[in-house]
């Protein structure tokens, strides 16, 4: 039996928009096949590698600052960032998704296909709840996860309503 697909949300719900990926996981509740594994993560690389190793498709959702409008959603071409760097710089946590990818590749523990979705934050201060712009983007980010898994949003909505 092949390994299941994995959806991973990285974030901290007590740091405002840093919790956006966790909200995307909530928005996906009931819209994914039962076999899909859904994981809440703090971005710690070893656990990320364990989570996605050998998965046919792993979709990771994370807060990513690219100086775009708050709430902007983008598929991240992580290959260029990992391939071009040795000491990868992170804004806050020194070990994170890019280190996990680089380490996973170094030890041969990667999914067959890895997709990374970034959500642009507005506020990363202390507190619960997303800013309006980021909250507004959650459903679209969830639809993009479904798209990456080969599930159209309408088809998955139909599945969950049955």
């Amino acid at each position: 039996m092949s390994a299941p697909n994995v959806v991973i949300g990285i974030g901290n719900r007590f740091r405002r928009d840093d919790g956006s990926a966790l909200q995307v996981l909530n928005a996906l509740a009931g819209r994914l096949p039962e076999s899909t594994v859904v994981i809440e993560s703090d971005g710690e690389p070893a656990r990320l590698i364990d989570s996605w190793a050998d998965a046919p498709v792993a979709v990771v959702v994370e807060t990513v600052r690219q100086n775009r409008a708050p709430g902007s959603i983008a598929g991240i071409a992580w290959e260029a960032h990992v391939a071009s760097s040795t000491g990868i710089e992170h804004g806050s946590h020194s070990l994170g998704i890019l280190e996990a990818i680089a380490l996973g590749r170094a030890v041969g523990r990667m999914p067959l296909k890895l997709r990374l979705i970034g959500i642009e934050p507005e506020d990363l201060g202390w507190g619960e709840g997303l800013t309006a712009a980021v909250a507004h983007s959650i459903d679209a980010a969830a639809d993009l996860v479904l798209d990456y898994l080969g599930l159209s949003a309408s088809a998955s909505a139909f599945r969950s309503s049955r």
Partner: protein, 433 residues
């Protein structure tokens, strides 16, 4: 970034790599003497203490588990102990053993992460664990597998590895069956051997000479290597109950950091693996003492660079202790004790992977929290880290800025500083050429 001129230098690292969280370092040298060392830690200004006020005492394990992704169990265990103290509840012996088992899982996870992914690259001249893995894939894989065994314990007992959900005040929501623990024991037997190999491996590193000054403080228990309870002891002879912590230790604001700095009435002090090892060597099982002897570590060790060996020995201990607990395990009659609220104040203190973690809560007769105090190990160690760096830099002023900065970062990583509640976002700059 570094700047230098004759006799005066400023070393500044804006973002410390391979430190769990957010932090920076600033060293000022004037006329050939170290004038100032500041470790700036961007700890939250007591967000969680404020967040807990007004909440129910039953919510504490779930909320405090989110303070740190690396050591959620430590926060849960100190919190539960404090609430149970306030309510006057004593937990079942098997529940206590399960908590200790859960804690062993966290020690294995956290120490393996630090040894293999954060600290070993320093000693071997690699920029990161990624470069280390490219040259020594088998070694890094061993570290990842070892860490995973800790993860497995958290999954079985805690319900999941991150922010365990099966912990409640008074015990657990559900106790595992004996059969649930059997597969974990199988993996622990491999892990214990891997941990021994780890200790032998790290003991071959070259260690700069450095002696940790001041008091070492840890929990002490007469019959076991203290993890989840005991008295607070120190190398200078302190021996107090956990409830006396506020009388002997405090925290103070300093201008250069948002984190509170730990202060002891008796002066600077250090918590963590070195403190535990020095105070509790006699309580280690024979297998750990034997490995310590094999790798040339005596019953005391004050070189902070050798903390990597002590962490490896503590992984051997945690694997061995976890096996002992599983072998003796009988499911408790009930997974948790009744916990009717009772107005009062309770204290809790356990040994997080990075050292002593103290919690205090005041609750009213309905169980609503009116006051919360959380003193993490990194805050307690911060003055000691700065003090140690002062001397460390002074003895190495002949080095160029790049090498001196690198060695300072390594020295800071000796303490495995963890700055709780970092955000986890990614800063990404894109060259759109």
């Amino acid at each position: 970034m570094t700047h230098s001129n004759t006799g005066s230098r400023t070393l500044s690292v804006a973002s410390l790599a391979r430190v769990e969280g957010e932090g920076s370092m600033h060293v000022v040298v004037r006329d050939g003497s170290v004038q100032d060392v500041e470790l700036r830690i961007f700890e939250p200004p007591r967000f969680f203490e404020a967040f807990l006020r007004g909440r129910s005492y039953t919510e504490v394990p779930d909320i405090t588990a989110r303070i740190c992704g690396i050591c959620p169990v430590a926060y849960q265990m100190s919190a539960c102990q404090a609430i149970e103290d306030a309510c006057g509840v004593t937990i079942d012996a098997q529940v206590r053993a399960l908590r200790r088992l859960l804690y062993c899982g966290e020690w294995i996870e956290s120490h393996a992460l630090h040894i293999y992914l954060l600290h070993a690259p320093d000693f071997l001249g690699y920029e990161s664990s990624i470069e280390l893995a490219r040259d020594h894939r088998d070694i890094v894989e061993r570290g990842l597998q070892l860490k995973k065994v800790g993860n497995d314990i958290l999954n079985v007992l805690g319900g999941r590895a991150i922010h365990p959900v099966n912990v409640r005040v008074g015990g657990f929501y559900k106790a595992p069956a004996v059969a649930d623990l059997a597969p974990v024991a199988e993996r622990l037997r491999w892990a214990r051997d891997a941990a021994i190999d780890t200790a032998r491996w790290v003991a071959t590193f070259e260690f700069p000479d450095l002696m940790l000054d001041g008091d070492l403080v840890a929990l002490h228990h007469d019959r076991e290597y203290a993890i989840n309870d005991g008295r607070i002891a120190s190398t200078s002879g302190l021996d107090i109950t956990v409830s006396k912590f506020p009388e002997h230790f405090g925290e103070e604001h300093v201008a250069h950091s948002t984190a509170l700095h730990g202060r002891a009435r008796a002066g600077a002090f250090t918590v963590g693996p070195l403190a535990r090892y020095n105070l509790n060597f006699d309580q280690l099982p024979t297998i750990v003492k034997q490995v310590a002897a094999d790798v040339g570590l005596g019953r005391t060790c004050r070189n902070p660079f050798k903390s990597i060996i002590v962490r490896a020995l503590e992984v051997v201990f945690a694997c061995d202790e976890a096996l002992r607990i599983i072998d003796a395990y009988e499911p408790p009659a009930r997974p948790s004790s009744d916990m009717p609220p009772r107005g009062g104040t309770g204290h809790g203190c356990t040994e997080a992977p990075r050292g002593l973690l103290y919690h205090r809560y005041t609750i009213d007769a309905e169980g609503i929290i009116s006051d919360a105090v959380i003193v993490p190990p990194t805050a307690q160690n911060q003055p000691s880290i700065e003090h140690g760096l002062h001397k460390f830099v002074q003895d190495r002023l002949h080095m160029d800025d790049l090498e001196l900065t690198r060695q300072c970062e390594q020295a800071i990583r000796n303490y495995d500083p963890c700055i709780s509640c970092a955000t986890h976002f990614l800063d990404l700059s894109v060259d759109r050429g």
